[in-house]
Symmetry: C2
Subunit: 271 residues, 2 copies
């Protein structure tokens, strides 16, 4: 047993799709979440900047006494997960290996599509991980630079969103039987994505899959939280509270408390 | 990297459903398998006997220099997984937590069915694990004493098999949206089971799910096997080679080498 919270970080609100699955699959666990919406999206930024920003988020979570950190952002996982994992003693999970393993488990034809931010797709990390695990798989990757901004601005039900998703995904139609949503923002668009790709294509939600991995490690290390301890989730954003809270409450379906955090001041407070 | 094989044990041939998924999802890894068909099924045996037999299989696998052991048998996992995990330094995986987590991830109504051997169902371990992880789930368990013997005797396509599956599962029909095949023998009967339960019920194959857990731990501990090293799987049975080989080759779809092993002599050789 370990009653400390699990820390989640993301460039913005996308990681909430992982939290939603955590609350559903592992409702005893407690969440501390930080979204760097003030600097989202990370996708188009240079690797050095993504690395520096992600470390700031990790250091913030460490001040909250977390037992595990989930990098609930594909871009940050692609750039800096391995370096962070080497430096810390608590378990650090990214979202790329869970999505890769789940895609391999799901596919029947071996033809897997991956969609993500420009940085994630440029890193080629999904192809590398999938082929490392199972070399006979054929991976087709597609950069979707407009998807995360649609979600961050809460326009997921707009006709513009439908048009962008339809146009962007058309090169993948009929080419894959499994599609990895390689950005934690994308499950918010999954009804549109499923509609474009067709019902026979299995969408891999890296959030749901990452929670399976969280569960494996909690069980393995026997650090599940006690059922008898109430949990008080905490959400932090580097941008405005109102917009984050609106998206988060709609997505999580529950009332939550959100605080603004200034990472530089936060570090001053705690270092 | 760690190029040592992964050890699998089962009361008989049921654990081959886990191996089949391993060969598909993680084709670089190498397998050492031991099936105790001479003493199968374990389900009706007393717990002390199951514990003693399982330790014999574990000790045999340890002589093969394995990097991880998978108890690919629900009955043995229910009775002795925790005790084995405490004693060994290499990772030990059972098949019950993977199936439980996957069922929680899959269900939409929260109504989960579990079928297994008399011992697994009597142990009530699936209900305990599922409710420990997610207390709002409702678990209905059903003992299927005749299923594993049908598989061990390779009668899975007989009309008797269909009749038995139909009659046994009728109390669960329409009551659950997710059904855990809580015995590694049962995926061999999954076409019949799916037919009886209906297409809308999601069957959870503990083999496929356990391989997802294997993959998580291999990645976490960075003990994947190198792609550049050829693998030579080894299969052992405590009963006759011919019958084991016939079932294994049909199920795995590949030519394999099977050896008979006498566990008492084997222990004399290695202790």
């Amino acid at each position: 047993m370990d009653n400390r919270p699990i820390g989640f970080l993301d460039s913005g609100v996308g990681g909430l799709t992982v939290v939603r699955e955590l609350l559903r699959q592992l409702p005893h666990e407690e969440v501390v979440y930080i979204g760097d919406s003030a600097r989202a999206p990370y996708g188009p930024r240079p690797a050095e900047q993504i690395e520096a920003y992600t470390w700031e988020l990790v250091n913030f979570l460490l001040t909250k006494n977390v037992k595990m950190i989930v990098i609930a952002c594909n871009t940050a996982t692609a750039v800096v997960w391995e370096a962070i994992k080497e430096k810390l003693t608590i378990p650090i999970l990214g979202v790329i290996l869970p999505g890769s393993s789940a895609a391999i488990k799901s596919t029947k034809t071996g033809k897997i599509g991956v969609i993500g931010t420009p940085m994630t797709i440029k890193s080629d990390i999904y192809r590398q991980k999938i082929e490392m695990l199972s070399p006979d798989m054929s991976v087709t990757s597609l950069s979707c630079p407009k998807f995360a901004p649609i979600v961050e601005s809460n326009e997921i039900r707009s006709s513009v969103a439908k048009k962008i998703v339809y146009e962007t995904l058309s090169p993948l139609k009929g080419k894959v039987d499994t599609l990895v949503l390689g950005c934690t923002h994308y499950p918010l668009l999954s009804p549109i994505i499923q509609n474009v790709m067709g019902p026979e294509v299995k969408l891999i939600d890296s959030g749901a899959e990452t929670v399976r991995d969280i569960s494996v490690l909690l069980n393995y290390f026997q650090i599940n939280r006690s059922r008898d301890v109430a949990n008080h989730h905490q959400f932090f954003t580097t941008a405005g509270v109102a917009s984050f809270k609106a998206i988060a409450q709609e997505w999580l379906g529950t009332d939550i408390s959100v605080s603004h955090v200034d990472l530089e001041k936060s570090e001053e407070n705690h270092v």
